[in-house]
Symmetry: C2
Subunit: 261 residues, 2 copies
DNA sequence: GCCTTTGCGTGCGCCGTCGCACAGATCCAT
DNA sequence: ATGGATCTGTGCGACGGCGCACGCAAAGGC
């Protein structure tokens, strides 16, 4: 599914943002893979073997604790890359990596990614920036999980998915959404019911169609907008990406900061 | 308070892990600061002016949304550094940075940190590793917020604090803990009451003394242990820190991964 | 077309947390 | 020592989410 007529790794925005020279150097090392929904790309605790650059697929980072409780940490699509621990110098990750929405991706071997990291080139620079976006995404999930009602969280989740998909349809079961949000399946049924009655969405067995995106946005918690803005802020102003030192003024310390005696 | 007879920046473990040559290069740029509890080191959204390396202080990253709801994202003490966005190539952060427990820290100007980053030396390498630890901390907070009861979360929080403090006492009000955990103050009163009845802790107006650490650990959710293990895994095996490529085997893809047609 | 599988709808009691209100206790400054 | 500010204890109703159980409906294989 989602098999574009011409497959182009540069549908992935990280690869797209890579200067031409860097890209051509890596191009033939990128392996194209099709990802089926529900597939486990990486089991928690194992060493990472690849870094994935989704083009049409959506991938979820999931953390499950010993008691079986779990939650989605982040959703990664054509906007980013999967395998940040390699970028940060780690080898394995406690997160499980699952295909949330089927599609395609490119992957690069962990070995090559490590080399890229050690050389500190543009791929590494962009990846670090995405790591920051990921942290923001996770941070808002913390607050969101704590304070927001399920139906608002569902709005956020749907919008995030939609942003990474071509059309206005999300193919996913309520059971799956429940696992992602870390709530009961029934809670999703109820929340989705509300959204459907409100005319925002429409669904049938594993397919949700969004009719009123603006309505969803209005109903979603601010977390959605905030995460999106952060991403755009990080990747929109590419101009200032070379070194952000421009803004690193050396002002004196501010409120409540007392110099050591 | 906590004014050690000899102040040594290398009580901070990141600085301590820095090879001697790198440290002496930076040494005179490190500014010693005393941090008073409750002080706001950085307001959400502002550009970061410094990177902090706590030696005895504990610093909290906090995210508050528009509605005033907030939660602690991470707790950083002598084990790490504050200001990861600079390390990742960003300039500002949406997180508020607050002193959770008074003490001292060293700081480095954002300008210098940017330079370190661009040169990609050992400080940058260690900082990235800590960024990974931070992500793990945040990830477990997501699951923890979703699934664990307040008193177990309180155990976790107390243990994390204790690990960054010299004695067995945490100086903090229940009001403060509540803000960190993102729950009501009364919920903390109740949870703390349970722990006190169980003989694990003992408290009086802003001071909690831990009597039975093992008991707390038994009662805490696995999140505590997991985060701690991850940290030790990242920083214990310093030997393998040069390049983790050793483990980057090139095995063939595994389960449910279907090659592109 | 049938039948099995899988996903969805609904009702119920339970419980943890919330929000609010107010009283009591402890600390600290003057 | 005393008063004021701050922190802590407690009670109450409301409610969102959980866990369970069961019935139904829609898809898909043969």
């Amino acid at each position: 599914m989602a098999n574009l007529a011409v497959f182009d790794p540069r549908h992935n925005q990280i690869l797209a943002a890579l200067p031409g020279r860097d890209y051509t150097r890596l191009e033939h090392d990128l392996e194209r893979v099709a990802l089926v929904p529900g597939a486990l790309l990486h089991a928690a605790g194992d060493p990472l073997k690849f870094v994935y650059f989704p083009t049409t697929a959506i991938i979820a980072l999931i953390l499950a604790n010993d008691s079986g409780a779990s939650a989605e940490l982040a959703m990664i699509g054509r906007d980013g890359l999967v395998g940040i621990p390699l970028v940060l110098g780690g080898v394995n990750t406690r997160f499980a990596i699952m295909v949330q929405s089927g599609g395609e991706a490119c992957r690069l071997s962990a070995e090559l990614m490590c080399r890229e990291r050690d050389e500190g080139g543009n791929l590494q620079r962009l990846s670090l920036r995405y790591a920051q976006a990921l942290m923001t995404q996770m941070a808002y999930s913390i607050v969101c999980n704590r304070h927001h009602l399920v139906d608002r969280q569902l709005c956020r989740w749907l919008l995030s998915s939609l942003d990474l998909l071509p059309g206005n349809q999300v193919d996913v079961t309520q059971e799956m959404i429940a696992r992602m949000l870390g709530v009961r399946r029934e809670a999703v049924t109820e929340a989705a019911g509300k959204l459907q009655s409100a005319g925002l969405i429409q669904y049938r067995r594993g397919h949700i169609t969004v009719n009123d995106r603006a309505g969803l946005e209005a109903r979603a918690c601010e977390c959605y907008r905030a995460v999106r803005e952060e991403y755009e802020h990080l990747f929109g102003a590419q101009a200032a990406s070379k070194c952000s030192s421009i803004n690193c003024t050396l002002e004196t310390p501010r409120n409540s900061l007392i110099p050591s005696r």
